[in-house]
């Protein structure tokens, strides 16, 4: 039964990602739930002309948002890494920049230089677009964004006397997700608030790659505790124990 999805290294798991790919980055923003090792592996792999899809995208590296600040803790990594490296030309996210501009985040820097298109989406719309892609729903109506710049160029329609926006499903070529535990079928279990965008993203990409602390045999995750079905996961990579990234 050909269900073993374990890949030996992060480098191997991202090796085939071509230029021009769209990449979903799971979690919420900050270190918990971020697939940091997959992100760094893709940075090292060097694919160009990427579109990044995330949530809180570029605020940690300059503000420590969602990262510990102890002296032995690692420097924050955020989705700005793909803009600092010149690999990404576009980001779709809800929270690209922090309140402060001193220092400038990598995404804002790239945007100011005209090197990055930044598509800012309400968080609830973004997660629903991703969920829709995985669920076979091509489009849906939402009240969020009506009467704001988000509505520009979009259809509106009334239902029951309230106005709604038509929003479309958002697919990606690859999704990077981060979980605490995987079984070899690809079933995933998360801890606390680390799941965030990962379960929906896992359903919405052609290839879903999971970065996990621990890989167990089938049965190592209880049938009641699976939060991402193995059906959605194509590749699993286990971190080294003691990895300083959370």
């Amino acid at each position: 039964m050909p269900n073993n999805k374990v890949i030996e290294s992060f480098a191997a798991a991202v090796a085939d990602i071509p230029d021009g790919s769209s990449i979903m980055i799971g979690g919420f923003g900050g270190s918990g739930g971020q697939p940091t090792r997959l992100m760094l592996a893709l940075r090292d792999q060097g694919a160009k002309n990427l579109t990044i899809i995330g949530n809180v995208a570029g605020i940690s590296a300059t503000t420590y948002y969602g990262w510990r600040e102890g002296p032995d803790d690692p420097q924050p990594v955020d989705q700005g890494v793909f803009f600092a490296s010149g690999q990404a030309g576009k980001i779709i996210c809800s929270f690209p920049v922090p309140g402060t501009t001193n220092p400038l985040s990598e995404i804002e820097k790239a945007w100011r230089e005209g090197k990055a298109e930044v598509d800012i989406v309400p968080q609830g719309t973004l997660i629903e677009q991703i969920r829709a892609a995985g669920a076979g729903i091509p489009a849906f109506y939402t009240p969020t964004g009506v009467g704001t710049p988000v509505a520009e160029g979009k259809e509106t329609r009334e239902f029951g006397g309230r106005t709604y926006l038509l929003e479309h499903a958002l697919h990606a070529d690859y999704a990077f997700v981060r979980a605490q535990k995987a079984d070899t079928h690809g079933n995933l279990q998360y801890v606390g608030t680390s799941r965030a965008f990962s379960p929906a993203m896992a359903t919405a990409a052609n290839v879903t790659i999971a970065e996990v602390d621990q890989i167990v045999e089938p049965g190592g995750i209880d049938a009641e505790s699976v939060r991402t079905l193995g059906a959605y996961v194509n590749r699993i990579v286990q971190r080294e124990s003691g990895d300083p990234y959370p």
């Binding site: 919420f28 969602g66 800012i120 309400p122 968080q123 629903e128 606390g192 608030t193 799941r195 929906a200």
Partner: protein, 231 residues
């Protein structure tokens, strides 16, 4: 348009005062989402005996207190990057469920910051036009869909221009969404007939507040001094 005034009749209140007053309007046992900035301060300032169940966009419901440590578990955070204390009855979930709660109208109250609020209750709080880039986060979903929206902010900009305006000049977060505005000088209710001044800071008359508020407001029959300032 009101003329700008240059001297205040009495000191304006602090950010903590604003948050304490907003906390007074949070319903005991309610499900509440606090935005970043002044709203986040509310959780430490609840009246005695009141307990809320906070929701945060990143997938947590039911916490009622924050931890102040900086080295908490990064897998158990709120959306502002703070560490909630674990309490019995909490639940963790993903972002789909989190926005089902928000967009589905299951949040009793949200307290949000504001850059501008119009006389109709339009809210602008996500982007400063001259910067050209901003962050929406969960704010638009909360503003458009929470059962009750309280804006907690300073009454004016640093150069004393009104932030409560006839029409927002900044891009909106959501139109006609605000129920109540709590500032460092006033508590103002948004009604279908326009703004109604409910409370003012000690030493501030309705006229003093009106002088730094662009839309003309009515004064409530129940007008009183800022309720948290009374002893």
């Amino acid at each position: 348009m009101n003329p700008k005034i240059t001297t205040d009749p009495a000191p304006r209140l602090t950010r903590t005062d604003i948050a304490r007053r907003a906390a007074l309007d949070l319903p005991d046992g309610g499900i509440v989402n606090l935005g970043i900035g002044i709203p986040a301060l509310c959780s430490d300032l609840l009246p005695e005996g009141v307990e809320l169940r906070y929701q945060a966009e990143n997938g947590i419901l039911g916490f009622s207190e924050m931890d102040t440590k900086l080295d908490g578990d990064p897998n158990i955070m709120d959306a502002g990057g703070n560490f909630p204390k674990l309490v019995p009855g909490m639940a963790f979930f993903d972002s789909v469920e989190s926005f089902n709660l928000i967009r589905g109208g299951h949040i009793d109250v949200t307290v949000l910051g504001g850059l501008q609020v119009s006389g109709k209750g339009d809210l602008a709080n996500w982007i400063i036009p001259k910067r050209g880039i901003g962050s929406i986060g969960g704010g638009m979903d909360l503003a458009a869909n929470a059962k009750r929206v309280i804006v907690a902010m300073e009454h004016t900009t640093r150069d004393n221009s009104p932030k409560i305006v006839n029409e927002c000049t900044f891009p909106l977060t959501a139109p006609e969404c605000v129920d109540e505005i709590i500032t460092d000088v006033a508590v103002i209710k948004v009604t279908s007939d326009g703004l109604v001044l409910m409370e003012a800071a000690p030493g501030w008359s309705p006229g003093d507040v009106q002088a730094i508020t662009e839309p003309i407001f009515a004064v409530s029959d129940a007008f009183t001094e800022f309720r948290t300032m009374k002893t």
